[in-house]
Symmetry: none
């Protein structure tokens, strides 16, 4: 049986590197150098230049152009009129020596009419909202919106069922005390007392922490658009308490992901080594206190999510 | 005489449901199931799917796509590259069971390059600004802009001359004391005295109100993007005073519409029954005091503008 | 039996106008023109000039001087080292043409070491806190403290048991719905709803108000140290709702006095005619809405508390 | 040799309970029940009632009255015209059933013209500023001023040289890194880094702390007039870092006392067991982070300063 | 040799007014009245109406439409899906009497998916960021972004190498003391002292300024989106100190341009005559103090940048 | 004719250094070392120690004590119960080696029950409000009140008619443009323009300033209780503009004194050399810009008011 590509008679398809079952629709124009995977759908009025690679099962809706330097991984969705670029400060007739590379990682979606500045990476499973203007890279599974785009939440799906669902329905729910579905991570109740003299936050960490505290740090003065964290530790344990204001903490063991809203000093989150952690959505007055089991060691950090996945899946 | 549709030779028009005098331009592509009304103008590089209905006298400028689930009523203008969508959290190759329906009501205009999220309704005569990103429904005659879009004003035109003009030139003008051009509506001067002890607003309502006060209510804590009101009463008279801060009140009798800026407690607006009223653009500190002639009765409210128009035009 | 005055041998008492049973203690010095009532206690180290009148049952503790122009009514208490004055901008050897008159009304108390600037009146039953510096007149039954002194509460005692007790133990208690112990005064529950669009306060006044609304007024922008009210109406009924912030309302029928804390728009207070009313302790953001049964009429106001007492006691 | 009391011929001394070498000056008046210790100085124009006890070496300057219920311990200084009271809400001719007791503890001083409300205790060695109005009890060694009086600093003198000197000359000096003169207490330098993501405070506490961290707490939201601490621990070590804002820490070993201004997260203070600690003068935004060597144990607290002194002096 | 235009076989080019070497790509559609210059590149899926003029060396990327009334000068870059408009309040079937004119000046660039409202001018060499929504005219060399678009910086390139580069890499660097590369401009160190009484900023300007101060002015209350300056002086020298907050100063001598961040009162910038100056990016609390060598004289101002360039190049 | 002193029979006057016509009243007690001038009035219950000097025409009201170290110049008024002290941190039985000297300069008045901490100077003609607590020296002619006392205004009277009147009636009147009654001082109109871009303050100082600007400074961050200035210059001219907020400037030539309210940047005040200047009552946001004719030279300052008076009266 022959399952071949489909090219509409009104399309201009100049490349031969097109995967099985991929369809190219009317008024689309693909230059000779482009490589397109299998099972893709390239809609009307699209334009794809030479130095472009598109993975399998990718949807490119109408009015989209993919310029030299754009890399689209498998399972990506690109909404109508979403617009890429490849020159940060374009001037007519002044081509840069090389174009910036823009990467859309596996399973990400780009909303209708979004704008993607050159040189960014849209992370694995991320979701770019309709009309968003992306000026910096988007972390894995983040949901972004606005101009300029900001993270508004994270996708709920864990890595084991990734790309299957939208943003978390439960994101307004504060961290519940006890074990979580992320391996080794738990939420610990602390003491928070307010009396006439002020507030007292306290925790008997000697009783519940499975490590000896060798270091502490306090994060504050973070604007709500900043992200702190986005890494895993090889050996270091951490315990996080938001002693003022609020922030969100995501813990991910490579199989499951969970978001913890820390909006009270009465609860802290323990993150064991080999846990990918993200902190974001700080309130203006947030102070995040972190206890760590080791002195600072740059070699202990895993900062690439794909590397993290490989290491925990080994 | 033959008044037929026009289809450009470079267009792909696969439907036969096209009204008289409608023109389809080059590189447009219309799928077989689409229904297009009369006197429309479908410009270059547009794309219209099957489950789409377009009314009469509609303009669709270049670069626009109308997806399954989009409904365009009569007299609508859709600017160039304005972008619709029909899946709130799209993932490649994961179609939702059914697409959300997006409706653009009669006479509305959508500005150039605007983005319309799925499932919203753009109200009768509303105007969506260029570049706006619409994330929630737009009320009748509202003017919206920004990302995400917010109401910035209301169209000045009354229903009898609706769709004929843009936003009010006079919108910065406070309510003038006396009768308005909306039937029965008047602006009443009140007393506003400031002395060393504070401010006193007072009105001898027994002298000028054409009804006996049976109920009062006070609206406050409304953020500037919220709208309160948007309904007519069948029997109930109202008198509105903004005792603190400011807000805008629109009165509409089905023939004429007028906007009143209430930015002083020294003036109130009387709204007789059978008047469509909207309150919006509350300042952060606004307190709107309302006197009513009847106790609260849900059956007295008309909340659908089209129903209101039918009732007053009868 | 002879119930005569007592003058300590070490006292200098140059006046003969001393009432029965009054005692003058050691090192006190009273000039010839002074008039002292009966049953007084004039303690050690006091000094009383000529143009001074002291009522009956007055206590003047040690270290107090009463200067020309001071008038002390019956039942007054003057604490130790409390200090009067009679020249606003004194210069040595430059006597003013006439001294300002300072009046302490019946039953008032002046705390230890308080300072009284010249020309003020300390109202009936008022209480001046220890160490307070009085720079303006003090209303009847007010409790004042600080430098400069501010009203901190009102005495709890009703006029029928006036001077018998201190400030209200119950003053932090919000107004309770239902009848009060002040004649005709009641507290009415209203509707206060908060939703995503803001707050709505409403009352079906046609159902519970024993009058028809002819006038409304709104008081706002009152600093916490100001008092609004302090009068009775002859004919006018009023209904008070604090639609924003909080304030305290005192109602007094000439026999009983009660304080109502209005700290929610969900409750209003009805004041019938012939009720003395005081409003004070406004929060910065307070808006007090008042409905009235009559148009404004200056002749309807009784602004003097003594006159009010006479009228209701007749 | 005769070391007798001295009574000025113009004084009225009706008591016989006067200690050796005490002097009573002109125009003073002491009632029969009063008890006065040895080596006191009772100046002109003073007045002392019956139910009064005055210790040894007490100075009572001119114009002071001591009322029934006042207790003055040894070594107290009472400045001129300082005024006591014994009835919180005095009314003429209405004596309370019993008078409130006011106690001035050993070594305290009361400034000129201060006002003392009834029922308070002025703590050991405390200093009441001239003109202050005392409405609540004053802790040991605190310096208070204002109307109402607030703590403005603590006396600098250690307990071994207590009552010998005034407030610290050096109080504006931040904590200096290194050992202090209080036994075992030291100040540790920490890291404070600000980068684009916010501020990072860090300390490798494993390297310098002479205890293992078993507990932490964070104190915040303390108004500047509040005091936290005021106790000693029997066994627990503590390390204090003010990670935001500033506060003052007093450490007292029973011999020496020192005040540390913590106004940077770059320095922390270590307090060993058996150290009396006080924290006060918090800035509005202060967050004080404390590490402790033991779990919370109420039995570990010594909350009475006299008991603390006894325990460390044993 | 023949250097002719190129029209793709799938393009619809109805005009004959096309310059040499210009290329028209697939699915482009150009109406008969349009005029296109030489060396242009008109990409796929573009649409150009009749009343449009395009200069030489212009790039029009895919998905762009140029409507009646649009004027594009030489060397302009228009990014993909950038969207023009020509009717401020469009209604279907209601054409305005005449379309607003939109001008893009020489060398300007318009980023991908930007939206340009009708009637504005994009200034010489300006850069419109991707996704920006332009609602008002853009000054020469300004870089704008956002919805609505605001100035975020200025292009770094001097006029002698204009259009060659992007915004300044060095823009976060405060003004360095000493000479700059702009002719005659230098940065001067000043004194900034804070003591208990407040802050004192001082400069012995008699020592370093090459002019006698005849005039001063202080600019404050400028919102961050405002620009002050944008002119050159013929004779007047200036010295600028930001005594509070911060702002940015651009100096341009017609050959070189440099930006100075003034974020401390400890440094000031001297601008000689014949220097084009711009001030922008004021912090909310900025106060910019300026000393000048001449009295105010409107004739001394050169307000048109092209005129300035001509005068200094003469 | 014999104009002798008068001593009341109940007074204890142990000194012989009493001036003519001075009267000593009942229960007053004056120790042997005290020196009292002529025409004084020493009232009941006063106490004066040995090391005290009182000038001529001084009034000391009842209940006042003058301790060792107090110096009262001519024409001073001391209100009833006003309280002096002579030991900043008194402890019983611990006399300081020497007492602090407190000076009340000529013509000053001290209100009833005021408290004077030791070591301060109450300036010439100053007025201390009733109940004030004086913790720092009071400048000449200042009016102070509160606890702690703050300057609330300055006496209106010029030095040539000093002590004749109270605080200025006209103090709320802004500086009027033109010459003042103080020698050489004038108010200059400046330009203050507000437009959409912010505010512009400008002054052509080359035209009106009678000096060449050699120095500038800006005063800001001054709390309302601080005073800047209080000195005269020998040679230096100054020109003051409050470019933000407001403050008060007093100019005094030794004959006349005038207060200028600078509440707009549209006016500045010129102060020639040999003018005593005071600035006070700064608003929180005040920025006072000062131009000076000379570089900073400490020798140019006259900081003592009496010295200033002598120099200008020579």
């Amino acid at each position: 049986m022959k399952v071949s590509k489909m090219v509409h008679p009104q399309a201009l398809c100049e490349t031969k590197k097109i995967g099985a079952r991929t369809r190219i629709w009317a008024f689309a124009h693909i230059l000779p150098g482009a490589r397109i995977g299998a099972d893709c759908n390239i809609c009307d009025h699209t334009f794809i230049e030479d130095d472009v690679v598109v993975g399998d099962r990718v949807t490119v809706k109408c009015g989209v152009q993919l310029w030299d330097g754009v890399r689209i991984e498998d399972d990506v969705f690109i909404g109508p009129n979403a617009t890429f670029s490849n020159d940060r400060f374009p001037r007519s007739k002044k081509k840069p020596k090389s174009f910036l590379t823009t990467v859309v990682k596996q399973g990400a979606s780009i909303g209708a009419n979004a704008t993607i500045l050159p040189g960014v990476t849209i992370g694995r499973g991320a979701m770019v909202g309709a009309g968003a203007v992306i000026v910096e890279s988007v972390p894995p599974f983040a949901v972004v919106a606005g101009n300029p785009a900001r993270i508004v939440s994270y996708c709920d799906a864990g890595p084991s069922d990734e790309f299957s669902s939208g943003p978390p329905a439960s994101r307004a729910i504060p961290a519940a005390v006890g074990k979580s579905r992320v391996k080794g991570v738990f939420v610990q109740a602390l003491t928070d007392v307010a009396d006439l003299r002020g507030n007292l936050v306290a925790g008997e960490i000697g009783e519940f922490l499975p490590f000896e505290v060798k270091r502490f740090f306090v994060v504050h003065g973070v604007s709500s658009r900043q992200i702190r964290g986005q890494h895993a530790h090889r050996k270091c344990h951490q315990f996080l308490v938001c002693v003022r204001g609020s922030c969100r903490v995501i813990a991910d063991d490579g199989k499951h992901r969970q978001e913890f809203l820390l909006d009270t000093p009465a609860r802290g989150v323990y993150l064991p080594p080999k846990t990918w952690g993200v902190q974001y959505d700080y309130s203006n007055d947030a102070s995040l206190l972190v206890f760590a089991s080791h002195a600072y060691d740059p070699a202990d950090y895993v900062r690439d999510y794909d590397q993290f996945l490989r290491s925990v899946r080994r």
